[in-house]
Amino acid sequence: MKKLLLMTLIGFAFSQKADEIIKKSHLNYYYAKNDGKANVTMTLVDKNENEKVKKFIMSRLDLKEGGEQRYFIYFEKPSDISKMTFMVYKYNDKDDDRWLYIPAIDLVKRIAASDKSSSFVGSDFSYEDVSGRHWTLDNHELIGEEELNGSIVYKVKSIAKTEDYFTSKISYISKENYLPLKEEYFDKNNDIFKRFEVLEVKEIDGVATAIKRKMFDFKNNQYTIINFDKIEYDIGLKEEYFKERYLKKAHRTMR
């Protein structure tokens, strides 16, 4: 009985520690500084090694640390989607608000906030992979520490509290800078179906930033690589830049 109590207490302590790690990692990774901007190159590689490339500029503004955010995407390539823009108001407690601007017909379209697990602009990354999954949606457990490509990482197992597109996830979080260096997603049969990896980290304005990221889709045997270039933090984005006005004519700081 004593042993059981002790184990429960240790278990509780580990889950609390795990919660802290995941939360810190989330804030570091998705809420770095107050705002940020990057030139993004997204390369999709299918099982036959055919590549498709999209280029866009992505800006982010945090209204509240760990809370509401604004995202703005200005497409550049391929040329048939150049000047197209996409804006997301991300909330933690309700569905996102999303708008798409199609320049060919000058149409601002409000679009339904789809499943957070759905593909982000046709890539193997989901919306949630890009904007983050709130740490309170899962139960976390610290299952160990190990070395990964020369970094010491916490190994955290997360189990979705309610039925979701994954059943469990293992995150490998750098002990040094709290970046999630690797994540493995498992389905209900405990089979891995996607794997996220950080391929390159660079310190920018004091923030350890994953500038090259890869998502491997085991189901379709394909992957997407996202390269971040010209990353800037705290450039002074304002809430008013995330309005319909700038969907149609992106603010000069966001293109």
Binding site: L44, D46, N50, K52, V53, K77, P78, S79, D80, S82, K83, K94, D95, D97, I102, A104, I105, D106, L107, V108, R110, I111, A112, A113, S114, D115, S117, S118, S119, V121, G122, S123, D124, Q222, K243, E244, R245, K249, R252, R255
Partner: protein
């Protein structure tokens, strides 16, 4: 082939400064239509080069987009200036867009109430890409963002001259069957075009007031001052019939919000017919109320579904037959019901399925009208083979399923087997379009 090579040459020269595409498209008819004078088997057979140029500076954006078209079917080549404008931020609260541009607003899905910017249904019905449904207009657009409570923006767009929709009969690709005009034709009456049409020398104004989003709701008000977008008939001195565009004002509003994970949109417009305020003229459209409601949501990660209900209610409908007859005996026994209904209902459904990382997209868009008893089925497959090469396959299937034949015409054997409602009149213009596009 020669023409394709010619275009490719131009592409290579300009690709340094310009982006755009070259494409070839063919729309084959699924049946012959004897009403089309040249009896061609194709609705479209054309090569197109589009060049886009964009220059951004602190002053604003300069944008240019033009198509060069070789129309093999009609044996013509032409230059179609799609857009050429300057879009400038004049101050913190004012943007100005001036030049030739394409404009869109309102919330309907391919159903337009407060969007009275010009449309090109010939392009749409023949399977050109959806953006060709919207035609450009020369306009000055002021977009103000006053820092006033509750107001997001005020748009005022002024066209110095009226922009009509492209009439379906132009380019001789489709045959429109209008029982009114058939009545004229069978009586040997030619309808001319009004020589000095008010619309031609008159401006058009479209405006919108948008409120700030509050509690997730977007609300907008609209006002349009201009003319009916398609031609109507004017009887002059009791003998001469002419096509003309009659005055129209539209007062409207729209609203949308998130609901049950999808988007609910509604739009309303009152079409005020200024040349026939009280329905006294049987030939000019009466005022009408138009409203739509649309719900769009994602059924799964890759499947989305949208339903739309649209209704149009004609005021003083009961007067029309009588007033037509008052104008001319020609209209005795005219089957008004076959021409238009007091309440016209149009429903649409859009189903989209995306696969292979959204590079393969299946769309089914279907219009059907329980009052006109007709439908327009528009399945489409888009395939991005690579970042440069795209394939599009679009079918335009028109059908009628009701007894909507003008009995009088049927008796005379003129329009046998033809229906005359909005979509069913194109039953013999069903076509399938295949487009290959190279993007640079």
């Amino acid at each position: 082939m020669k023409i394709v090579l010619y275009f490719l040459n131009i592409v290579i020269i300009f690709s340094q400064q310009f982006t755009g595409f070259v494409e070839y498209q063919l729309s084959g008819r699924l049946q012959r239509n004897d009403l089309i004078s040249n009896k061609k088997d194709y609705v479209l057979d054309e090569a197109r080069l589009q060049l886009k140029y964009n220059h951004s500076s602190d002053f604003g954006d300069l944008f240019f987009k033009s198509d060069f078209v070789y129309d093999q079917r009609n044996n013509a080549s032409f230059f179609d200036l799609r857009e050429a404008y300057i879009y400038s931020t004049m101050s913190d609260w004012l943007d100005l867009k001036i030049g030739r541009h394409i404009q869109t607003w309102g919330l309907g899905d391919l159903v337009f109430i407060n969007d009275l910017f010009p449309k090109d249904w010939v392009s749409f019905f023949s399977g050109r890409q959806d953006d060709y449904l919207k035609a450009p207009s020369n306009a000055v657009r002021f977009i103000a963002y006053p820092d006033a409570i509750g107001i997001e923006s005020i748009d005022i767009s002024i066209s110095p001259s009226f922009n009509a929709d492209k009439e379906i009969g132009t380019e001789n690709r489709f045959a429109s069957i209008n029982p009114l005009f058939e009545r004229f034709r069978s009586n040997g009456i030619n309808i001319g075009h009004l020589e000095k049409e008010n619309a031609q020398s008159n401006y058009e104004l479209s405006s919108r007031l948008k409120l700030k989003q509050s509690s997730g709701m977007n609300i907008a008000f609209y006002f349009y001052r201009g003319f009916y977008k398609s031609a109507q008939t004017l009887l002059q001195e009791n003998t001469e019939f002419n096509f003309f565009h009659s005055r129209l004002n539209v007062y409207g509003l729209s609203f949308n919000r998130n609901l049950f994970g999808g988007i609910l949109s509604t739009e309303y417009g009152y079409y005020y017919s200024l040349d026939d305020k009280d329905g006294e003229n049987g030939l000019i459209s009466n005022s009408s109320n138009r409203a739509l409601i649309l719900y769009e949501s994602n059924l799964s990660e890759n499947i989305s579904l949208g339903f739309q209900f649209y209704i149009e209610n004609i005021q003083d409908y009961e007067l029309i037959s009588k007033k037509m007859l008052d104008q001319n005996d020609l209209f005795s026994n005219f089957d008004l019901d076959a021409f238009k209904d007091e309440n016209r209902i149009l429903n649409t459904v859009r189903l989209t399925y995306k696969t292979m990382n959204e590079t393969l997209r299946f769309t089914i868009f279907n219009f059907w009208s329980p009052t006109d008893k007709d439908l327009y089925f528009r399945p489409k497959i888009d395939y991005d083979y690579s970042d440069q090469i795209r394939f599009y396959l679009t079918a335009n299937i028109f059908s009628g399923y009701g007894e909507r034949i003008d009995d009088n015409k049927k008796l005379q054997g003129i329009l046998e087997n033809y229906n005359n409602s909005m979509f069913s009149q194109f039953q013999k213009d069903k076509n399938i379009n295949i487009t290959v596009r190279y993007i640079f």
